[in-house]
C-alpha cells in the first residue's frame, strides 16, 4: 500500500479545483484519479459559452476553463492518473484504485490517504419506451462527447428528447457538427431550459413538440423510426395523435443524477433531494461528509453547474489543507468566506434560488454530533 496526503476521485472541475487549492496552500502529495482517458470531466465537451454571472467566467467556454485548470494543476505539482477508477473505500481512509485499461493489464492500488475528496460527478437519466435499447439511442451527453471531443457524428438524423439546457445546447451543437435535428420532444407543456437557447433552436427551424413524448422506437439493429404522441394533462398519450419521424439517432436529455457508488459503499449518510437529482451525501460547510476526513464536492453532492462545482471543490481543498496544518484557521476562514460568498451569488435568480434552498436543506440535515 502506498500513502498520499490527499486523494481525489474524479478530475472534473470540482476535483481539479480541490486539488489546485490544496496544493496551492502547500499540500504535497495530491493525487487526482479519473476513469476516463482524459481529465476535465464534462468541461471538454462544452464548446459553448457558459451561462452564469459575469464574475464567474460566463462567456468563457467549458474547454477553456478545462485547459486553464489543467495548466494550474500542473503548475502546483498535482499528480493525475487517468484510466484509473476509484472502486473501493475502506475504514481509516483507504481508497482502492483500479489502474489501467480494459484492454491491458490492470493493477489494484490501495492508497492510505489522510484526506479523501469524492468528486465523481453525475450520470444521465434514462427514459424507457418500447425499443429504447436499440443502437442509435443514447444519452445526450454521449452524443456530445462524440461530436465535440472525438469529432465523429453518431448518426445523421437526430430526435432529441428533453428540452432542459442540456437538450437545447446539445441539439444546437449537433447542428454545428453537421447533423440534422429532426425534432425536439418535451413531455411538459413548456420548455425547460433558458429562452435564449430555445430561440436558437427555433430560429434554425427545428420543430419543438411540447406536451409530447416518444411512444416507440422502431428498427432492426438500429433505430430508423420514432413514434411520438401528444400527452393529455395527466401525461397519458392521446390516441390518434401519433406521428412517425425518420431518425437514426435518439438522444435522451432527461436530467442527471449524482453518482453515489462510493458514497454508499462507505455508508456516508445521505438525504433525498429532488431539486438536486436524487440521493446526495450530507455535508457541512467544509464539504466534509458524515465520515471524518472524507469530503464530497460538485455534482456528486447535487446536480448543479460547472461554476458551483469549482467553488465547492475549492472549499474542500482549503478545508483539507487547513486540517493538514497548511493553513492557519484565520487564513482558511477568510478564503472559505470568499468562496461561500461566490457560491451564494451563483445560487440566486429564478434558476439558482431552488438550488440555494436545496443546499440549505442539506447543510441543515448534517448531524451536529458528527462535526
Amino acid at each position: 500500500m502506498i500513502s498520499k496526503e490527499i486523494v481525489i476521485a474524479g478530475a472534473g472541475p470540482a476535483g481539479l479545483a480541490a486539488a489546485i487549492e490544496a496544493a496551492k496552500a502547500g499540500a504535497k502529495e495530491v493525487l487526482v484519479v479519473d476513469l476516463n482517458l482524459k481529465p476535465g470531466g464534462q468541461l471538454f465537451k462544452q464548446i459553448h459559452k457558459f451561462f452564469g454571472s459575469s464574475a464567474h467566467r460566463s462567456g468563457t467556454r467549458g474547454i477553456d476553463i478545462g485547459n486553464q485548470l489543467l495548466t494550474e494543476a500542473k503548475e502546483y505539482g498535482v499528480e493525475i492518473w487517468v484510466n484509473s477508477a476509484a472502486v473501493g473505500l475502506f475504514h481509516d481512509r483507504i481508497i482502492s484504485i483500479e489502474k489501467g485499461l480494459d484492454s491491458g493489464e490492470k493493477e489494484l492500488v490501495n492508497i492510505q490517504a489522510q484526506k479523501i475528496i469524492l468528486a465523481t460527478g453525475a450520470s444521465e437519466n434514462v427514459v424507457r419506451f418500447k425499443g429504447w435499447t436499440l443502437p442509435g439511442i443514447m444519452g445526450a451527453g454521449a452524443a456530445q462527447t462524440m461530436i465535440n471531443v472525438n469529432r465523429v457524428k453518431p448518426g445523421n438524423k437526430v430526435v432529441m428528447l428533453g428540452s432542459g439546457n442540456v437538450g437545447l445546447i446539445v441539439s444546437y451543437q449537433l447542428m454545428q457538427a453537421g447533423c440534422d435535428v429532426v425534432a425536439l420532444i418535451e413531455a411538459a407543456p413548456k420548455i425547460g431550459g433558458y429562452g435564449v437557447h430555445a430561440a436558437k433552436i427555433r430560429r434554425a427551424g427545428v420543430p419543438i413538440y411540447t406536451s409530447h413524448t416518444i411512444i416507440e422506437a422502431k428498427g432492426t439493429e438500429r433505430v430508423s423510426e420514432v413514434v411520438i404522441a401528444e400527452l393529455d394533462r395527466s401525461w397519458n398519450p392521446i390516441p390518434g395523435t401519433e406521428k412517425v419521424l425518420e431518425a437514426d439517432v435518439v438522444t435522451l436529455a432527461a436530467g442527471l443524477k449524482p453518482i453515489s457508488d462510493l458514497v454508499r459503499l462507505h455508508d456516508l449518510k445521505c438525504v433525498y433531494n429532488a431539486a438536486f437529482g436524487g440521493w446526495v451525501p450530507k455535508h457541512d460547510r467544509n464539504m466534509e461528509s458524515t465520515q471524518p476526513g472524507i469530503y464530497v464536492v460538485g455534482d456528486t453532492t447535487g446536480v448543479e453547474e460547472a461554476n458551483t462545482a469549482l467553488e465547492e471543490g475549492r472549499l474542500a481543498g482549503v478545508a483539507a489543507a487547513e486540517r493538514l496544518g497548511y493553513l492557519t484557521q484565520t487564513d482558511a476562514s477568510a478564503l472559505k468566506d470568499d468562496i461561500w460568498e461566490r457560491l451564494d451569488g451563483l445560487r440566486m435568480g429564478p434558476f439558482g434560488e431552488k438550488r440555494m434552498v436545496a443546499k440549505n436543506q442539506i447543510l441543515a440535515a448534517f448531524p451536529e454530533c458528527a462535526k
Binding site: 484492454s103 443502437p135 438500429r222
Partner: protein, 108 residues
C-alpha cells in the same frame, strides 16, 4: 460513409493525427492514434458493438463515458472491453462480442 467532422464552426479544422491500422471483424480499418475504439468505428457509421446474452439483441454506444458497458467488444482476444474509454493502438484486433464473449466458435 465517413462520419468524421472535418470542419467545425467553433473547433475549426480537424488536426491531422497519426493514423494506425486496426482490424474490425476481420476487415482492416484506419483510425486516429489515441482515439477511443468506439469513435473509430462510429466514423465508419458502425454502431453495433455487441449482442446480448439471452435475447441476442444488438447494443451500441449509450453513455460514452465508461459507465454502462453497452459498448463492450473483444479486443486482442479479451472480452468485455469498454470501447468508449479504450484507445486504439496499431495492430489491434477488434471483434463484435456475442454474449459474454466466450465459446462463440471464433478463433480467440
Amino acid at each position: 460513409m465517413c462520419m468524421r467532422i472535418t470542419e467545425h464552426v467553433i473547433l475549426g479544422q480537424e488536426e491531422t493525427a497519426k493514423l494506425v491500422e486496426i482490424t474490425v471483424d476481420g476487415k482492416p480499418l484506419m483510425a486516429k492514434e489515441g482515439e477511443p475504439i468506439l469513435a473509430a468505428l462510429l466514423a465508419e457509421n458502425m454502431i453495433i458493438n455487441r449482442y446480448t446474452v439471452k435475447r441476442k439483441e444488438a447494443r451500441g454506444l449509450f453513455c460514452g463515458i465508461g459507465q454502462c458497458t453497452d459498448c463492450a467488444m473483444i479486443v486482442n482476444g479479451k472480452p468485455n472491453v469498454r470501447t468508449c474509454i479504450t484507445p486504439v493502438e496499431q495492430g489491434m484486433v477488434i471483434k463484435t462480442q456475442y454474449g459474454v464473449g466466450e465459446g462463440d466458435g471464433e478463433d480467440d
